[in-house]
């Protein structure tokens, strides 16, 4: 088979190895609100002029820098809405980056367009989450796998067919199924077809967007094993996007954790799972139900919900939920005082308790021991605004105003003055496991 020579071996690739395969520098992707000609227009009869252009944009990916070395698997993990899929698509230039540079082998993909970009795409491929909808139901498996080769003008008809059959075998399918339609295959097998299609143009880099999350556990293991085998055989580099930390732990060499458009921590796998340094990573790891009934580790359940990416918190984006938010320096609070104040501030902001008398509030949140000095004054004021038995709280026309006032009253001096709100953190740490770099975006490491 003449085509086989097209399949470069991993040794051949090692030759062109120097520096990272892919380098992201300050990549951002913002989305406008609404779509269409008048999508961004807002109508508000109370203002003048009544029509305004909506400048609020969803910051799905915000200033992300990453390196991916040839031959490694970088796991990108985060919860839904954190921007991990958007980042994957932006790297492929399926989405136009709003800002930043994407260097692939030293060439900036963000600058490429048209034919040049199209050609580059043979080197970067993608595998999607849903094995059902990513295959055209009216095309035969053979055609599906050959299509990218045809698009990139690789080989003649015969050569393409031979290569397609070879790839079918490589991904663990029967080459005799070349003429079948996708519906005749199970979910796991369809994902194998996706793999074969991605590999058909002999890429160096594959972005895998949740490739196994639609599959059952036992099938998941089959596909993961195949992906690992193919990586060795073809010398591939993976960006493996997933929300499932167990899968990430299995397949990755290094792991990047994303929260609300920012990368919060990057480290080698063992280091990240055994020695996590960002409070979000810790919370994420503690949340996973471990398949071991004797493991009764207490869960540090995260409070609240992910804020809107339209108007993300300043500084560290995790600070509004962080159990270790740093105390503002202006008030010399003891740790206990700060813990109480922090809990009270968040309870007020989220309205997680019902209005009660001032004394009761003091007991419940502060053990009857308000912080000393200015901080205590602020807290006392806030309590007054919502308590049922004070002048302001009790007689306020609308109960809601009291809460809003108290919230402002607390957030402004405490949350907004913390270093977590004023500066965006970025620190390189000494790893406890392995020798790789460990990046954590948390001010506790300052």
């Amino acid at each position: 088979m003449a085509v086989s020579s097209d399949l470069r071996t991993s040794e051949a690739r090692d030759a062109d190895r120097d520096g990272p395969l892919l380098e992201l520098e300050g990549v951002s992707k913002y989305f406008g609100q609404g779509s269409g000609l008048f999508g961004g227009l807002q109508f508000d009869p109370d203002t003048f002029p009544p029509i305004s252009v909506d400048r609020e944009r969803v910051k799905a990916v915000d200033d992300v820098s990453l390196e991916i070395q040839p031959g490694e698997t970088l796991g990108l993990v985060g919860e839904s809405g954190c921007g991990k899929s958007t980042l994957g698509r932006t790297i492929l230039r399926l989405l136009e980056p709003t800002d930043g540079d994407i260097y692939f082998r030293g060439e900036n993909l963000a600058d490429l367009s048209g034919e040049k970009l199209r050609q580059k795409r043979s080197e970067i491929q993608m595998i999607f989450q849903d094995p059902q909808s990513s295959l055209d139901p009216r095309m035969k498996v053979g055609q599906i796998i050959e299509e990218p080769m045809r698009a990139h003008g690789m080989g003649d008809d015969e050569g393409r067919e031979a290569r397609a059959k070879e790839l079918l075998e490589k991904v663990g399918l029967d080459p005799r199924h070349y003429n079948r339609y996708p519906h005749a295959f199970s979910g796991g097998q369809r994902q194998r077809i996706n793999l074969a299609r991605a590999l058909s143009v002999d890429p160096d880099f594959v972005v895998c967007d949740e490739p196994v999350s639609a599959l059952d556990v036992s099938i998941q293991a089959q596909v993961l094993n195949t992906m690992e085998r193919l990586q060795d055989e073809f010398g591939l580099t993976y960006l493996f996007i997933a929300h499932d930390l167990s899968v990430i732990r299995h397949i990755s060499d290094r792991v990047a954790v994303m929260y609300l458009g920012h990368i919060v921590e990057v480290a080698e796998k063992e280091e990240l799972f055994e020695n996590p340094q960002h409070p979000y990573t810790k919370a994420l790891l503690e949340s996973i139900p471990v398949p071991d009934p004797r493991e009764s580790g207490a869960r540090g359940v995260l409070e609240g919900e992910v804020p809107s990416p339209q108007n993300p918190p300043s500084g560290c984006r995790f600070r509004t939920r962080c159990p270790q938010l740093i105390a503002p320096e202006a008030y010399e609070l003891t740790e206990e005082e700060w813990a109480h104040t922090r809990a009270f501030m968040r309870a007020v902001k989220r309205r997680t308790f019902e209005p009660i008398a001032a004394a009761e509030m003091r007991r419940e949140f502060f053990d009857d021991d308000l912080p000393r000095g200015d901080a205590g004054e602020i807290v006392r004021d806030a309590i007054d605004a919502i308590a049922t038995d004070t002048e302001r709280g009790g007689e306020s026309a609308d109960e809601r105003d009291g809460w809003a006032e108290a919230t402002d009253h607390l957030l402004e001096p405490f949350a907004e003055q913390s270093i977590c709100a004023r500066e965006r953190p970025a620190y390189d740490l000494e790893p406890a496991y392995g020798s790789g770099e460990h990046f954590a975006a948390c001010h506790r490491h300052r």
């Binding site: 029967d174 059952d216 998941q220 299995h250």
Partner: protein
Amino acid sequence: MSSEPLLRVENLKTQFFTEAGTVRAVDGISFEVYEGEIVGLVGESGAGKSVASMSLLRLVERPGEIVAGEVTYKGETLFGLEDGPNGDLRKRDEMLSNEEIRTRIRGNEIAVIFQDPMESLNPVFTVGGQLREFIELNRGLSEDEARREAIDMLREVGIPDPEQRYEEYPHQFSGGMRQRVLIAMALACEPSLIIADEPTTALDVTVEGQILDLVDDLQKKYGTSFIWVTHDLGVVAEICDRVNVMYLGEIVEQAPVDELFYDTKHPYTQALLESMPRPDRTVADLEPIEGVMPEAINPPSGCRFHPRCPDARAVCKRVHPEPKVVADADGEPHRAACVKHDVFDVGYDESPPLEGAVDGEGSRRTDEPQSELAANPAGDEPGGDGGE
């Protein structure tokens, strides 16, 4: 756990009569739920766990039908068949009527929490309104009382600012908050049993953690029993007291949770545990289960797991094992449906290993997907009966 079970299921069979043939989605399962415990129903998609749980409330729609078995709840017969005079099966007299099931049992005695909270809430009514109506109808309260009760329930499940949220529509709630609303709805009539069908599958891990903790707290407070349907063994380990593992319509192993993980008696459970990547330690090599689950339309002879089983022997092709007690777990039975255990006594030890079951690592790789296809052309998602 010595008293009468709250719910007893015996030999329940639910079949779907389709054009392609009869799908035996649930094929003779028996289990019990006692007061105050969380019982897991675990399996991969297509194992029949959702159909089984819906059968308990007679919520199976055509072409599906419960064809055999008996479901007893607090001494009342939710479903039961007996032999009629002409030898055919007929419904037993003491079986509750549809009317009684609807007014007395569903919601009041047994509530359900579904996987997808968006589909379970009506998008054109406010969240509070739906909850209020549910309470009004099921508990016979006045509108005002029901409203107060609804707000209390929302607060109970940890929804901040419940008066405000009461007026909002489902799309204004996040996934986790919607699931909390459904839990509030399920708990509103203080049922004795809640069937939770993959309630955390669609949620992010941190939200899943919040919901699991919430259920744990509420369960302690109200003493409600749960049937927890899931495919996630992590969730099982975390929350369940006893577990039923299902494979292709049957329960293959039944044990208290600790024994299930530490003294696994069925090769399928074992294989499932070994094929999982772990969050708590790095597993160098995953051991996948070969092939895919066959369709329930034409299940394999003998033990249904034998084509994929690493321990399969010739006898497994012939003998169909019913779950039997194979070990004693602190006074509780540990059942498994595998003939390799001595109690079955069908000559497993003398039986020759099945050919091609496990013959070397090398051939496995290329053989596996073929057998996968031969067994079943589109195996992963038969019917989509509320699986993933």
